[in-house]
């Protein structure tokens, strides 16, 4: 608890007063490597947005340990690929935390950009216009930018989409390197085998956490079954969630059957 990088306190995130993350409590340890898994619409990306601060909480809070800088690789980037920029221009944006608005890029900065590109297997791509990159190459470029950001907390939202298996291996190696450097890493992943092999901890979401902890424990068949029964759709006339009706003694995995049918009875 003392070494918390992130603390979720009764966090509810969502859209149009419908929760996508419902009353989440818990902590992400400093230096931990956590996979975030769950069905479509289970709140994984929403949680990421909430942590970065792009989405404001409807209730509760995400508390970042002081001095923690986050780097975020979104699932649906708002990147404008038709913008006239080269790979090096895009990756150099990752220097922002270091150089800000006005700081000059030094020779070391330029070297570190090249090194970051090398690390994702794109050495020599510096001068390529970004509109000539393939989907996987672009993803690796964005990884290079995260690398350059040199952040303590790294949030990757489905980073392995459209990436070939060799590259997935390279990117996993990179993630493990970050883990080795005591950075806190959270990754949204769909491939459970990948999670079992590479991630020590897992958060299984279905709007609220179904299970959270050591990966082998979390991904037990009964937990997966419960997560699969999660009811994706909103109910327009779902009753309002009253603050008093919550049982705060059981912060993880409390059922809300009566609210939106997530839970065994709903199936």
């Amino acid at each position: 608890m003392i070494n918390a990088c992130l603390t979720f306190r009764d966090l509810t995130l969502g859209y149009n007063s419908h929760p996508a993350i419902h009353h989440l409590d818990g902590t992400i340890r400093k230096g931990s490597l956590t996979a975030v898994v769950g069905a479509n619409g289970s709140g994984k990306s929403t949680l990421m947005k909430g942590i970065v601060g792009v989405l404001k909480p409807m209730a509760g809070a995400v508390i970042r340990a002081p001095g923690v800088r986050a780097a975020y690789l979104p699932q649906q980037s708002e990147l404008d690929r038709s913008f006239p920029a080269r790979v090096v221009d895009l990756v150099s944006l990752g220097l922002w935390p270091r150089r800000g608005l006005l700081g000059r890029y030094t020779k070391e900065d330029r070297d570190s950009v090249s090194q970051a590109l090398m690390a994702v297997g794109l050495g020599g791509f510096e001068k390529r216009p970004i509109d000539t990159l393939s989907g996987g190459q672009l993803q690796r470029t964005l990884f290079a930018r995260v690398l350059l950001q040199d952040a303590d907390l790294i949030l990757l939202d489905e980073p392995f989409n459209a990436v070939d298996s060799k590259t997935v291996g390279d990117l996993i190696a990179l993630i493990k390197r970050w883990h080795g450097e005591e950075r806190t890493v959270m990754v949204v992943v769909h491939d459970l085998d990948l999670v079992r092999q590479n991630f020590p901890e897992t958060l299984l979401l279905a709007r609220q956490p179904i299970a959270w902890g050591e990966t082998r424990e979390t991904l037990k068949p009964e937990n997966l079954l419960r997560a699969r029964r999660f009811h994706e759709a909103w109910e327009e006339n779902a009753p309002w969630c009253e603050p008093d009706s919550h049982d705060h003694d059981h912060p993880h995995a409390h059922d809300h059957d009566h609210h939106h049918g997530a839970g065994p009875r709903a199936a």
């Binding site: 970065v52 601060g53 792009v54 986050a70 780097a71 975020y72 979104p74 980037s77 708002e78 990147l79 404008d80 913008f83 006239p84 920029a85 080269r86 221009d89 895009l90 944006l93 922002w96 935390p97 800000g100 608005l101 006005l102 216009p129 930018r145 950001q149």
Partner: protein, 291 residues
């Protein structure tokens, strides 16, 4: 030699009003063309046009109160433009409506108010003057104003360059590392208004946006990087101003449209012959390399 001198130099050397027109329009290009490049890259090319219309009621208010004086009309235009830019920008940032729709709504309302105000007092000749300007009647006051606007524009662009590029290229990323996203957007809209107002006296509301957008659109066909694109847009702007003024002098044509049409010629030439234009893409690229 004498003929060349007579064609290209004499009009500017002999007439003070031509010199003023040249200085004014060149300064205008220096500020407006880079702003136009960013407008284009943000897919807001038509917003420039909308903003130009939005300036009208402010200018008309200045005209109604003080007659055909540059300062009140400019300040009025500035206020109206900023209200519309901020209003439309705020609606698109804080509601689900996109900027194109909110901008259209705001500028239509603004334009209607402007036409109404001009029609209350004044004839259609005045309206023509407000809409089309006269680059050949720039006085010292107007030149100083344009100079100030250009200075503010260039300094702001230099300071906020990195944020502006980031906001165009990857706005979500900028939001994740900095709070500058929204301020930069509004500063940029402010620069658009400022440059349109600057061009307003010289070229009129309708044509000032032409000097902003056409060189930028033409420059897009020649380069795949922002910095050279801005420089090239300024160069094209310069060339269009010089060509347009000479054309208007020798053929006794109105100066504003002559400048814009010159830029239009460069635009069409760029579509055809640019390194990223039609001919290159269609003909030369039939050959390909092995890797």
């Amino acid at each position: 030699m004498d003929m060349l001198y007579g064609l290209f130099i004499a009009p500017f050397a002999d007439f003070a009003f031509m010199q003023r027109a040249l200085i004014g329009s060149l300064m205008l290009s220096l500020g407006a063309c880079p702003v136009g490049v960013f407008l284009m890259l943000r897919r807001m090319s038509l917003s420039g046009d909308a903003m130009a219309h939005a300036i009208l009621p402010g200018a008309a208010a200045g005209f109604l109160l003080y007659g055909l004086e540059i300062l009140p009309m400019t300040i009025g235009g500035l206020i109206a433009g900023i209200i519309v830019a901020l209003g439309a920008g705020a609606v698109s940032r804080f509601t689900i409506q996109r900027e194109d729709a909110s901008m259209a709504a705001f500028y239509l309302i603004s334009l209607a108010i402007g036409v109404l105000m001009v029609s209350i007092r004044g004839s259609s000749v005045d309206l023509m003057h407000v809409l089309f300007g006269t680059v050949l009647a720039l006085n010292n006051e107007a030149l100083a104003l344009i100079g100030g606007i250009v200075a503010v524009t260039l300094v702001s662009l230099a300071i906020f360059w990195r944020a502006l590029v980031a906001e165009c290229l990857d706005p979500l990323f900028l939001r994740s590392v900095s709070r500058l996203g929204s301020p930069v957007h509004f500063i940029f809209l402010g620069l658009v208004v400022l440059n349109l107002v600057g061009g307003f006296q010289a070229l009129g509301t309708l044509l000032s946006v032409g000097l902003m957008m056409l060189p930028a659109a033409a420059a897009r066909f020649w380069t795949a990087r922002v910095e050279p694109m801005c420089v090239l847009a300024v160069v094209i702007g310069f060339a269009s101003c010089i060509a347009g003024l000479l054309l208007s002098y020798h053929a006794s044509l109105p100066s504003g449209p002559a400048i814009i049409l010159s830029a239009g010629v460069v635009y069409f030439a760029s579509i055809l012959f640019g390194t990223r234009g039609i001919l290159r893409a269609r003909i030369i690229h039939h050959r390909h390399r092995t890797a």
